[in-house]
Amino acid sequence: MSRPLSKVTGWALLIGLSFFLIGPLVNLLLWAFSSRWPYPSLLPEHWSLRWWRFVLQDHSIAHAVWASLSTAPVVTLLSVLLCLPAAYALSRLPVPGGRFWMISLLAINAFPKFGLYIAIATLFFRIGLIGTYWGVILIQLLGTVVFMVWIPKAAFDAVPRELEEAARDCGAKPLAVFLRVTLPIALPSIAIAAILAFLAAFDESQGTLIVGAPNITTMPILMYRLVSSYPQPVSAVFSVLLGLPSLTLLLLVRRSLLSGRLAAGFGV
């Protein structure tokens, strides 16, 4: 492609993509600060913070914030505790059928999500987990398992064996080698996996809806109700509140995502 033509293509892609990807988000942000925005104005006619006051004082919203904060961090912690040792074992120990176990974890992604949630909910109904805290924890945990194993496994693989051997030669015990050599080198990738796990749990809106109902309403679940029964600015304000953690974390991990750690996690 010639240089000017490639520049034109680039600009077209950039403008088209910004409009499509960012436009709806900016529009949503504007709605959060508007008190009157009649069709077909391109900007709100009146700006105000009154819907923020409304949202921040609403009890059901405080409850939802609490429901989210009491699940997502627990899910993240559990995911780390359950999956990290497995990732290490798959990388360093002669696990029989190791490759098979890795691949079989992908089965989670091979099921259409909502169908799987319906199947799980039916089962949870039978064993009394529907509408319970642990039911929700389990369903959110499911969405974190694949990358919590694959990404740290790739990270452990990338730790040079020579460094571990050198430490061992200096008399370090296996645990010390792990804690002072292997773990620190793999830590950035593990942190990214943990952040992704937190986001997956925090934003989970489909499994939680059917398994958590009617007792547990996390923030994304409340959003369904707000959308259908409140004026637009309320949902818009709530969207901003709900989206803030995600955007903050985006800025934290953006660089590593670009450097291909995530793709490594998918085995490409």
């Binding site: 680039g10 990807l21 988000l25 074992a89 190791g98 809106s205």
Partner: protein, 304 residues
């Protein structure tokens, strides 16, 4: 062999066995989770949809229109298939998933190619841009798209200001495709981009030296080498489309509607878990067809 040597060997053999056991023990928790939350529900869903109902369960047998049988029967499926509304839902769901897959593959491939072969500031900007959807919860994204693209949304306002008519895709299948594309771009570009990284630049230079233009390069060198990546993206996008609820719930049509929304109605509002589960099993089947196609294609490519 002296006894000393033999002793040393059993010592060495013992250690791997212990390591193997430790390894299995450490791998067990996520695998157990897989068994508890995927294998068990899937198997029990299949048997439930075939009419095999555990008799001892009160909650389970309270659902309406329950078909109960001692031996596997396709009655639940037959009843579903007998409803024209269900057939329309099914066709719509598969159609939307196919359209989303096609759109995402084309768009993501264009983006991956552009950002791979250009290193200027524009390309860097694009690289940050296409990641954005990854960090926006799907509920927010769907609502944002709703306010932006609906009949009296921002785009509608803009077009009305220009004096042109606007037909909103929201609440039609176009709305669902729009949502799926919005959400699916980061995964597509990241995976396709990673595949492009693995193509040796020398290969492209050689082809260029032989006078290949960009399209020849794409069709004869890049695409054949990056085929697997494209298949992965297509398969997982299709499966994702078959299993997504939030986007069709907020942006999709009402009649016919997508299977996930219908499943939710049957499971919750209609109190008919059995047809809901049968629909879930059907989406598993359709997804496994797509998955099988992908496995077959990659297998053939490895053999070639």
């Amino acid at each position: 062999m002296t006894t000393l040597q033999a002793g040393a060997r059993t010592q060495q053999e013992k250690r791997p066995i212990r390591a193997q056991l430790t390894g299995l023990l450490l791998v067990a928790p996520p695998i157990a989770l897989l068994a508890l939350l995927v294998a068990w529900p899937a198997v029990s869903a299949i048997s439930f949809s075939l009419g095999l109902i555990p008799g001892n369960n009160l909650l389970f047998s309270q659902g309406l229109h329950l078909i109960r049988s001692d031996h596997p029967t396709f009655q639940v499926y037959k009843a579903l298939w007998g409803q024209p509304a269900f057939r329309a839902d099914l066709a719509l769901t598969v159609g939307v998933a196919l359209w989303s897959t096609l759109s995402i593959c084309v768009l993501a491939y264009a983006l991956a190619l552009y950002t791979h072969f250009h290193r200027h500031r524009l390309a860097t900007l694009l690289r940050s841009l296409y990641l954005v959807p990854m960090f926006v919860p799907v509920v927010i994204a769907s609502y944002g798209l709703l306010l932006f693209f609906e009949g009296r949304g921002w785009l509608g306002s803009l077009i009305a200001q220009l004096g042109a008519p606007y037909r909103s895709p929201i609440f039609h299948q176009g709305g669902v495709v729009l949502g799926q594309v919005w959400q699916g771009i980061p995964f597509g570009v990241l995976l396709l981009g990673a595949g492009l990284e693995q193509i040796a630049p020398e290969l492209l230079d050689a082809a260029r030296d032989c006078g290949a233009n960009i399209w020849t390069l794409l069709g004869r060198v890049i695409l054949p080498l990056n085929w697997t990546g494209l298949l992965i993206v297509a398969t997982f996008t299709f499966i994702g489309g078959m299993g997504s609820f939030t986007i069709p719930f907020l942006l999709g049509p009402n009649a016919p509607q997508l299977l996930a929304v219908e499943m939710n109605n049957y499971f919750g509002s209609f109190d008919q878990p059995q047809p809901a589960v049968a629909m879930a099993v059907l989406t598993f089947l359709i997804a496994s067809l797509a998955g099988g196609l992908y496995v077959f294609a990659t297998y053939r490519q490895r053999k070639l």
